[in-house]
């Protein structure tokens, strides 16, 4: 019994334990603002709110981040504890770790809660293809892209998406609160004699 618990805590769960549809099966290596390597499976264990942006984006991306700010402020601390905010760059050619660092500082993102990643074009294409996210570079270096925000569960499965920026924060707040209430209710039932 002791050995069972020892093994369970000593070795992290491996990819084979993930649900078949988990985004955490992607093994591409991304970069953070510090230049450190990062794999999506490192997000395991918390719900993740994911959006695609790029650092030079001047109109829609700030609105996406505003929505996430609003969500961050609206959620009670217990829900926030179990949540990560993930921003994925659409512009890996220009969004170097240095550019990401400036972006993080400009938006004053709390890296305890926020992760901003830049990768390579193929990793980005694969992640966007899995999410069902459309984007296209234009000849002047900008991007045409959707504004959808995605919600992943603790195991990296996409559980919902929010294409409407005017309501995304409210919908996410409601869904995350509902999930928390449901979870609390289930725990109460389990604890009942």
């Amino acid at each position: 019994m002791a050995l069972f618990f020892f093994l369970g805590f000593a070795f992290p769960l491996c990819a084979e334990d993930l649900p078949s549809s988990s985004l955490f099966h992607f093994d591409q290596v991304w970069r953070t603002e510090s230049g450190s390597s990062f794999q999506l499976k490192e997000l395991r264990g918390k719900k993740t709110v994911m959006a695609f942006v790029y650092t030079r984006c001047k109109s829609v991306c700030p609105l996406i981040i505003q929505n996430l700010y609003k969500l961050e402020k609206a959620l009670p601390e217990p829900q926030l504890q179990g949540l990560r905010f993930l921003l994925v760059s659409l512009d890996p050619a220009r969004d170097t770790p240095e550019a990401i660092r400036g972006f993080v500082e400009g938006y004053q993102l709390d890296l305890q809660r926020w992760t901003v990643l830049t990768g390579n074009p193929d990793a980005l294409r694969s992640l966007s293809a899995a999410a069902g996210f459309n984007f296209k570079p234009t000849s002047d270096g900008e991007f045409v892209h959707q504004n959808t925000i995605f919600l992943l569960d603790e195991e990296g499965q996409m559980v919902s998406h929010y294409p409407n920026l005017s309501s995304a924060a409210d919908e996410l707040t409601a869904d995350l609160t509902q999930v928390a209430l449901q979870s609390h209710s289930d725990e109460t039932l389990l604890e009942a004699p």
């Binding site: 078949s20 099966h25 109109s59 045409v144």
Partner: protein, 246 residues
């Protein structure tokens, strides 16, 4: 010497199949659906003469068992993946195009072959070439639309008998739809880049405004179909072919 030849044979046997592409010369074409509405340059590249067949795909699966129907992860292919195969390796029509394949599977296959999926621009550029007997692009589009209008058959034709277009490429129209690498590189929502002023959010009817040729309904249908896909989707009449850097 004999040992060297032996090892060459061993390694060539373990590696992927040979390329089967034809060179498509560099050129320009105007995308049907694009914000900028101007010709884009397409560099020379090689494209498979025919769609990838079920027999070809079986070779891939045997070399890469993680892509078997019973083993593939749901992240990479939906529940209908290879659903017309009776078992993991029971190919119904070895010489017909493989369908019920996801973008991820198609991409992995092409990488195994030493290639890649063609980009949307590369595919559309090659597909503008007409077949023998087609008088002009209107005639070409009429025939494509006739095919789009016919219900899909469970039995697909062998790739061997397909007519070739002016580049020597067979079956770009009239057999199966085909995955492209950047199938999701399509203008989204109102089609305005996100750096344009906030008032651009009020813009509507973007789809019609962005069309390069509103009369090219065949191209519109291809773009609409692609925009409905996700990487793990599989469809009865959706296959692929590979491209190679020239």
């Amino acid at each position: 010497m004999a040992l060297t030849i032996f090892w060459i044979l061993v390694f060539s046997g373990c590696s992927s199949a040979a390329k089967t592409g034809i060179r498509i010369p560099e050129g320009r074409y105007t995308p049907f659906f694009d914000l900028e509405k101007k010709p884009v340059e397409v560099s020379a590249y090689e494209l498979d003469v025919t769609p990838v067949t079920q027999g070809n795909f079986l070779d891939f699966i045997q070399a890469n068992p993680e892509w078997r129907r019973s083993a593939v992860k749901r992240l990479f292919a939906d529940e209908d993946y290879l659903k017309n195969w009776r078992t993991d390796e029971a190919v119904p029509q070895a010489e017909a195009p493989v369908t019920y394949v996801s973008w991820f599977a198609a991409k992995a296959y092409c990488a195994w072959r030493g290639g890649r999926l063609p980009t949307l621009d590369e595919w559309e550029y090659a597909a503008t070439a007409r077949l023998e007997g087609e008088t002009d692009s209107a005639d070409q589009n009429r025939k494509i639309l006739e095919w789009y209008g016919r219900p899909s058959s469970d039995r697909l034709p062998s790739v061997k008998g397909l007519s070739r277009n002016a580049y020597g490429i067979a079956g770009l129209h009239g057999v199966v739809w085909e995955w492209v690498y950047d199938f999701n590189a399509l203008p989204a929502s109102d089609g305005r880049p996100s750096s344009t002023p906030l008032s651009a959010d009020l813009f509507c009817a973007g789809g019609a405004e962005l069309s390069g040729d509103p009369e090219n309904y065949a191209a519109y249908m291809r773009y609409a179909f692609r925009s409905s896909l996700k990487g793990r989707y599989t469809v009865k009449n959706l296959g692929f072919r590979c491209a190679y850097d020239s």
